[in-house]
């Protein structure tokens, strides 16, 4: 029989990490995600599964710990919120450049600067366009429920190891703090050191044995031509990820005249807005990107010619809206509605924004 637990989104991340066989978590406190480290500290997984949990001296140190753990072939993760994720960008680009798997959780709060501790979705650009220096991409998952916070830990690790690429869960303060019922999975065993050697021994720093060359984890190559070849290889990997891993959900889109595009907590608000519109006789659907990179470009394109317009709803000045516009390439109207700085849009505001933009006048 399945186990159900009532918990916060942040607690779900911690519980999922322990149960999915994570080897190490390295973090630093920041609202609204501190419950992740707090839950792990309380749960003491080092006694239960052998998982390492460490509060580092900074976000910079913690992401560099993840960089090293990933280089060793271990399943390692970190979490933070916006200002802390900015600090982690150094380590994230090194991890991407060294082609290592790991999981990073961003429970987004409003910015810029110290901003606010209230929820926001204003780190979209940073998450999906790279974030740090250089041409790289993260695999970005956007949970819309506490259940998905739980499920995407395992999924994030799976994709990260499949492509040897850092994965990010891009959440926000609403999902991190709200409580919902969660179906929790069975415990997966952590890999033994021997199993790590067998699976990842061709690249991971597990100690050089006489039967193999030394493994070097680095992103450095001073030869311009080789560096370009490496970059081309990364680009091929990102195209492959786009081909295979795009995930999205369609709600009431079949007969829709208008489509709302929203992810994470905004998509929950939009679900209600869709119902309100339908009650009014306006045929509205919702397209919810589950992966933000890769972005469901083709799914959006498939509605061109069928719908009269798209409205993106984001808790930002309009970031994802740019990717929706790129997808339709001028062939359909795309508008944005949102709030910033920690203000959460209401379903009625979404309905009004749709009417104001597309129906009235």
């Amino acid at each position: 029989m399945a186990d159900y637990m009532l918990m916060k989104g942040n607690e779900a991340i911690a519980e999922a990490a322990i149960r999915c066989g994570c080897d190490g978590y390295f973090g630093y406190p920041i609202t609204p995600q501190s419950e992740i480290l707090e839950t792990l500290a309380l749960r003491k997984p080092w006694e239960e599964t052998g998982m390492v949990v460490l509060q580092a001296e900074s976000e910079i140190a913690s992401i560099n710990m993840v960089y090293a753990g990933a280089g060793c072939g271990k399943k390692v993760m970190t979490s933070s919120s916006s200002p802390g994720i900015s600090l982690k960008q150094e380590g994230i680009t090194y991890i991407a450049g060294a082609e290592l798997p790991c999981l990073i959780v961003n429970v987004v709060r409003g910015g810029p600067g110290l901003g606010t501790i209230q929820p926001a979705q204003s780190d979209y650009f940073q998450a999906v366009k790279g974030g740090g220096h250089g041409d790289y991409r993260l695999i970005v998952l956007a949970p819309a429920s506490v259940q998905e916070m739980y499920d995407f830990v395992d999924l994030g690790f799976e994709l990260a190891f499949k492509y040897r690429n850092p994965a990010m869960i891009l959440s926000d303060g609403v999902i991190g703090q709200m409580m919902e019922k969660v179906k929790v999975g069975e415990y997966k065993k952590r890999l033994t050191d021997q199993e790590i050697v067998e699976r990842y021994g061709s690249w991971a720093t597990t100690g050089k044995t006489p039967n193999r060359q030394r493994n070097i984890i680095t992103s450095l190559d001073l030869d311009a031509n080789r560096q370009e070849q490496f970059n081309l290889k990364l680009q091929r990997k990102y195209r492959e990820i786009e081909e295979n891993e795009t995930r999205f959900e369609l709600i009431n889109c079949d007969d829709a005249d208008y489509i709302l595009v929203a992810y994470g907590s905004s998509s929950r608000i939009c679900q209600k807005a869709v119902d309100l519109c339908r009650e009014k006789g306006i045929k509205v659907g919702l397209l919810r990107p589950i992966t933000l990179f890769p972005f469901p470009t083709k799914a959006i394109q498939s509605f061109v010619g069928k719908v009269k317009g798209f409205l993106t709803v984001e808790m930002s000045a309009g970031q994802m809206v740019e990717d929706v516009r790129l997808a339709v390439n001028g062939q359909c109207r795309v508008e944005h509605f949102g709030h910033m700085g920690g203000v959460i849009p209401s379903p009625n505001e979404v309905v009004k924004a749709l009417e104001d933009n597309f129906i009235k006048g």
Binding site: G24, L54, A56, S62, N64, A68, G207, K208, R214, I216
Partner: protein, 253 residues
């Protein structure tokens, strides 16, 4: 007697460590980095821990250290090596992890990471090459640059009113309860190299026994950055660096 009769294994008194690769080193002639690499390679070979050693290289002239020691390596971001090593020693408690860092890497951009790793008593060794300058980027001022010393970014000499004081970071590290062995060595004479090797053996054994953090500063030369010949650099180091950075053990418990 023919030369061939003499060149026999049993007559060898000295050889290149098997842990050193055949790659030609990119270091400037006379640079201390190469000597310290050699000593470290010998210690790894003598303790027979090649298969359990993981090195963390810095950003600095030793960024390519992974070309020279035949072990698994992880190349860190500038200053972050101690954080990397902390994760590795916790995830693999039975392995030997060390960081190899310059003075810009360790005492400037990475000051927080080294302090906190030592304060947590991470079971790792740090080898700290203090040449009082940023060698790799062309001889700019480091936190360890001596008062009055001319560098590319202190062309009129380090002025403490403007630039602050030379940082004796090893003295600070010796104060931290997490460290078990803190020493300052050099590598400019055969005697100094032998002492360095003894210190390195002790530090690696401490780490294998998980006693705490071991820390070896090597007062070093950077003849290119200092714009002196290797011989003059050694002399200048003895006369100017040693008074500010005196050799010897600061802590051994």
């Amino acid at each position: 007697m023919d030369v061939k009769d003499i060149i026999k294994k049993e007559n060898f008194v000295y050889g290149k460590s098997k842990v050193l690769t055949d790659n030609p080193m990119h270091y400037c002639p006379g640079c201390t980095h190469g000597v310290v690499h050699k000593v470290l390679a010998e210690v790894i070979e003598e303790l027979d821990i090649q298969d359990k050693t993981i090195g963390v290289s810095p950003v600095g002239c030793a960024v390519l250290a992974y070309n020279y020691l035949d072990i698994d390596w992880h190349e860190a971001a500038h200053g972050r090596a101690p954080a990397l090593a902390s994760a590795i020693n916790r995830l693999y408690p039975d392995k030997f992890v060390f960081t190899y860092q310059g003075d810009g890497d360790l005492a400037s951009i990475g000051a927080a990471e080294i302090m906190h790793a030592c304060n947590r008593g991470e079971k790792q060794l740090t080898i700290f090459i203090n040449n009082a300058i940023y060698g790799m980027t062309g001889g700019q001022m480091a936190p360890t640059t001596l008062e009055g010393m001319k560098t590319a970014t202190s062309p009129y000499g380090r002025n403490v009113a403007l630039h602050g004081y030379p940082l004796q970071i090893t003295e600070l590290i010796a104060q931290l309860p997490g460290t078990c062995y803190v020493t300052r060595q050099s590598a400019h004479t055969p005697g100094a190299v032998r002492k360095l090797k003894q210190a390195m053996l002790k530090a690696v054994k401490n780490t294998l026994e998980r006693k705490g953090t071991s820390f070896i500063e090597v007062v070093a030369t950077c003849n290119s950055g200092w714009k002196q010949s290797p011989v003059d650099s050694n002399k200048w180091m003895v006369e100017n660096m040693f008074p500010k950075y005196p050799l010897g053990d600061m802590k051994d418990i």
